[in-house]
């Protein structure tokens, strides 16, 4: 049954809550919904799942009234598959928007209206359930004849009472046997009781308890197992929604951990080989300021182009005729409908995709924008397109604004005070530039008087240790290495111990590149992270990557979560975007990665030298935005010609 129903403004004031459902919620699902769903441009999702810290898992559904700035949220137990919730929410929105007044803050009389609405919604859901069950009846009969009678009795008992929808609403998941069976049990157990009790919230529990005596041959343990499976499936499907659609990548086959050539062959790490030394000149931190410290606007152009150039989709379908739409745009009364938004959103989505934003992300963003604009009134003298574009710009800005502090130096100092080294682990797929950018980060830290130590935990790829050693020599920083074929987790652990002995403030851990589907390697990485508990897990990703960005990041996160032995898994904390200099204006990968992981872009690698490390500066977008918009406005002859021809035809029509 419903646990909680809320109506609140976008400003955060609760206007109305259902008093009958005075159940105390465990945790704060509403705040979690707003923080991790609505503010992350995921408001187009169907539902939000929340696991309370104690026991209990909730599902939340919501709907917006964008014109009035209201949000309607319903909270219910996840195991109850309430189907009428969406129906109820939209009915509530309809009714509430009529009595809403921005000056008022209490709506006591809505209680009555709500009761009415709830009744109607439940009846509708009941009718739908019956309709579906009528079609399914022969099958059910064939399967479990003994229970069919029971079911009918339950239905009849329920039909009279409005509380009857308790088990029934769960019933509608056609193909799902478990759900169906649960419905049967609920009905059979509650049918007779309906007259006495109205406590619907406990129906599921009751079904579980009363199950055996009422439905003789029914195996309860099996039922519970199935039920938990369903719940789990629901969980998983929302969690890995992103990754599921992508076709599975071919796993690299020729990489095997165990039967590789003997150690002596690969292990060149003994300091006998000194040839490299003579050539490598020692490089103190004097190659100039690392670009991290120079004011540089990396993302602004991308950002605004994404929003700005899309104007080319000017001819938006106008069904109502030029004059009436003109009038509406002046008076500012046009209400945005989904059909109005579609062409503009389509154009925006295409635009995003040409900028290398993963398709899935572009789609989700557009849906979320649509959800936030639908029903809004168009302001005076604005076009649909500019409204959509403004909303998109705001959304992009919001996404790229970091959620957590990206001030690494501050964290380093904090760790120093505690007398611990600050550990950064670099992870990523093969060949994205982990070691190179690790060296750049080391250079940047050195410039800020931080003692850095490198840990060569890529014990897999030949030459990896030598590569790192070369960087260490050039930068004159200590390196901790144990050669190849060692357990990277142990190497990292020893490196951290060594660092606390020789007063290093930061340990940069280089790991082997791995494809996100490679189970054994992901397991090794998970172990490394679990054992050493680094302060920062930095995902190194190429800016060149397109649709694969989603797959890489979501799988890395997923694997780290799945393979973790700790109750709270460490996930990716930040992103280092490499090869940013090669992509021109196709910066979509940054957006895809941030959207999918929620982690901020902490560094941007943009060249081959040590100084080529920047930070993504979202703040400086603002003043630039206007400039870009003007430049990108299609003031080309094309545009002018179209509008001129249009005006001419209109004048001609008027004369006729």
């Amino acid at each position: 049954m419903l646990e909680q129903l809320l109506i609140f403004t976008r400003g955060g004031l609760i206007l109305w809550t259902c008093k009958e459902l005075g159940n105390a919620l465990k945790g704060s699902p509403i705040d979690a919904l707003i923080r991790s769903c609505l503010l992350e441009e995921r408001s187009a999702d169907a539902a939000f799942n929340y696991d309370a810290p104690g026991a209990g898992a909730y599902t939340l559904k919501w709907t917006f009234d964008n014109d009035l700035g209201l949000v309607f949220v319903a909270v219910y137990q996840r195991i109850l598959n309430l189907l009428y919730v969406e129906d109820l929410l939209s009915a509530m929105r309809r009714e509430f928007s009529q009595i809403y007044n921005p000056k008022r803050t209490a709506y006591g009389e809505f209680d009555e209206t709500f009761r009415q609405l709830q009744k109607e919604a439940e009846i509708r859901a009941e009718a739908m359930r019956k309709l579906k069950q009528a079609g399914m009846a022969p099958m059910v009969l064939g399967k479990k004849q003994g229970q069919a009678a029971c079911l009918r009795a339950g239905q009849q008992g329920g039909g009279k009472q409005r509380s009857s929808s308790n088990g029934g609403s769960g019933n509608d998941e056609d193909g799902d046997d478990a759900e169906k069976r649960r419905g049967l049990v609920d009905n059979s157990s509650n049918g007779p009781q309906n007259g006495i009790k109205e406590s619907r919230a406990s129906s599921a529990v009751k079904g579980k308890e009363n199950g055996p005596p009422d439905s003789g041959a029914f195996d309860v343990s099996k039922l519970q197992k199935l039920r938990s499976k369903v719940a789990k499936k629901n969980d998983a499907s929302t969690a890995s929604k992103a990754s599921n659609k992508e076709p599975k990548k071919i796993v690299k086959k020729n990489r095997v951990w165990d039967d590789s050539p003997s150690e002596s062959k690969l292990d060149f790490t003994d300091p006998i080989d000194e040839r490299g030394d003579g050539i490598v000149e020692v490089l103190a931190a004097d190659q100039g300021e690392s670009m991290m410290d120079k004011e540089e606007i990396v993302s602004s152009d991308s950002e605004d182009e994404e929003g700005g150039e899309t104007e080319s989709a000017k001819p938006i379908a106008r069904k109502k005729g030029w004059f009436s739409s003109m009038f509406q745009s002046i008076s500012g009364n046009a209400v945005l409908e989904k059909s109005d938004l579609q062409p503009a959103l389509k154009a925006l989505k295409d635009r995003l995709m040409t900028k290398n934003v993963a398709e899935e992300i572009a789609e989700k963003l557009c849906e979320s924008i649509a959800a936030s604009l639908e029903g809004k009134k168009l302001g005076s003298f604005t076009r649909v397109f500019s409204t959509v574009q403004a909303a998109m710009e705001e959304a992009l800005l919001r996404i790229l604004t970091p959620k957590r502090s990206v001030d690494i130096l501050r964290d380093v100092h904090a760790a120093k005070e505690q007398g611990k080294p600050y550990v950064i682990v670099f992870v990523g797929v093969n060949g994205v530039g982990k070691s190179t950018n690790l060296a750049k980060v080391a250079y940047w830290l050195l410039q800020h008087k931080v003692n850095v130590m490198l840990a060569a935990c890529d014990t897999f790829r030949s030459g990896a240790v030598e590569q790192l050693r070369t960087h260490a020599r050039r930068l004159q920083i200590p390196i901790f290495e144990k050669g190849y074929e060692k357990d990277p987790a142990m190497v990292a652990k020893e490196a951290i111990q060594e660092a606390s002995r020789n007063n290093s403030n930061v340990v940069l851990v280089d790991t082997a590149g791995r494809m996100q589907d490679n189970e054994p390697l992901m397991r090794a990485l998970s172990k490394l992270i679990n054992v050493n508990k680094p302060d920062l897990v930095l995902f190194v990703g190429e800016a060149l990557v397109g649709n694969d960005a989603v797959d890489q990041l979501s799988k890395f996160n997923q694997k780290l979560a799945d393979l973790s032995t700790l109750p709270t898994a460490r996930l990716i904390d930040g992103i280092l975007l490499t090869k940013f200099d090669t992509i021109d204006d196709k910066v979509g990968a940054a957006l895809s990665m941030v959207y999918i992981s929620g982690a901020p872009v902490m560094f941007v690698g943009c060249g081959q030298s040590y100084t080529d490390l920047k930070k993504l500066n979202v703040k400086s977008i603002e003043p630039d935005r206007r400039k870009w918009r003007n430049i990108l406005r299609p003031a080309t002859s094309d545009f002018l010609q179209i509008s001129f021809l249009k005006i001419m035809t209109i004048i001609r029509n008027l004369q006729d």
Binding site: F8, R10, G11, I34, T105, R404, R410, K449, K619
Partner: protein, 256 residues
């Protein structure tokens, strides 16, 4: 393109001819009307801009800004609040002053959401700010201490705050609870944290956009008294409506 230019030229010459045909009086009147209208518009704009009469509520998410906003406006917490997604912006008479007689000017109070993704909204409102109330959760202070200090540091180093010397009130909220920390404790902790932040941030670079100004005197431990703008600290409780110190602050800085 050339075709285009030709078209335009034609149009322009047509318009010119048309204008020549009109009587001179009408033209003068039209020009005068345009001039007056634009002058009015400019006047209105500048008049509107120079006014700094709003009080801004800032602070971390969950510190109680929205409750405070409604306590100031209506004197009631209503049914409670959830995380804000948009700023609350209203101009009103303070609830405690509604009864008072005489001429009272309404105050514009803006509650800026504390969620880090929405903090950039703060910059929109700062140009109109007459004062800023930084709300701190006194109950849950220690785990959030660093985040609070960082946000406060960002605010205190904003160019507009330093230049216009916008007064800041650090309001320790939720003091009705027994386990809430005292304002003295919070002040000391914040000063200590900001001192650390200062060393790390100034070390970072001259070009870090977020810190436009440096705080305090270098070589000395930071204390709030070193700030150029007025900084005070007070206690309040949004739930119970014990907000007299906040109201006092507002009245000090928004003239009656």
């Amino acid at each position: 393109m050339e075709q285009w230019v030709y078209h335009i030229k034609q149009q322009v010459s047509q318009i010119e001819q048309w204008i020549r045909q009109q009587p001179a009086d009408q033209l003068y009147i039209a020009i005068a009307a345009v001039v007056i209208a634009s002058a009015l518009l400019i006047l209105f704009r500048t008049f509107n801009r120079s006014k700094a009469n709003s009080i801004i509520l800032a602070g971390l998410s969950g510190s109680g800004k929205t409750i405070l906003f409604y306590q100031l406006r209506d004197g009631s917490a209503h049914h409670g609040t959830v995380t804000s997604m948009e700023p609350n912006d209203d101009t009103f008479l303070l609830h405690s002053e509604v009864e008072k007689k005489g001429k009272i000017k309404p105050v514009r109070v803006v509650d800026v959401p504390g969620h880090s993704r929405l903090r950039s909204k703060l910059d929109e409102f700062l140009p109109h700010a007459a004062g800023l109330i930084f709300v701190v959760d006194a109950l849950d202070f220690l785990p959030n201490c660093r985040a609070v200090a960082e946000y406060l540091y960002d605010i205190l180093t904003k160019a507009i705050i330093v230049k216009k010397k916008i007064p800041v009130l650090i309001l320790c909220n939720k003091t009705d609870k027994v386990t809430a920390h005292s304002k003295e404790f919070i002040r000391k902790q914040l000063e200590k944290e900001i001192d650390k932040l200062r060393t790390s941030r100034t070390a970072i670079s001259s070009a870090d956009v977020s810190s436009e100004y440096t705080l305090g005197v270098s070589g000395e431990a930071f204390s709030f008294s070193q700030c150029h703008n007025k900084l005070s600290i007070a206690e309040a409780s949004g739930i119970t409506g014990e907000i007299s110190q906040a109201e006092q602050f507002i009245r000090e800085h928004v003239k009656l």
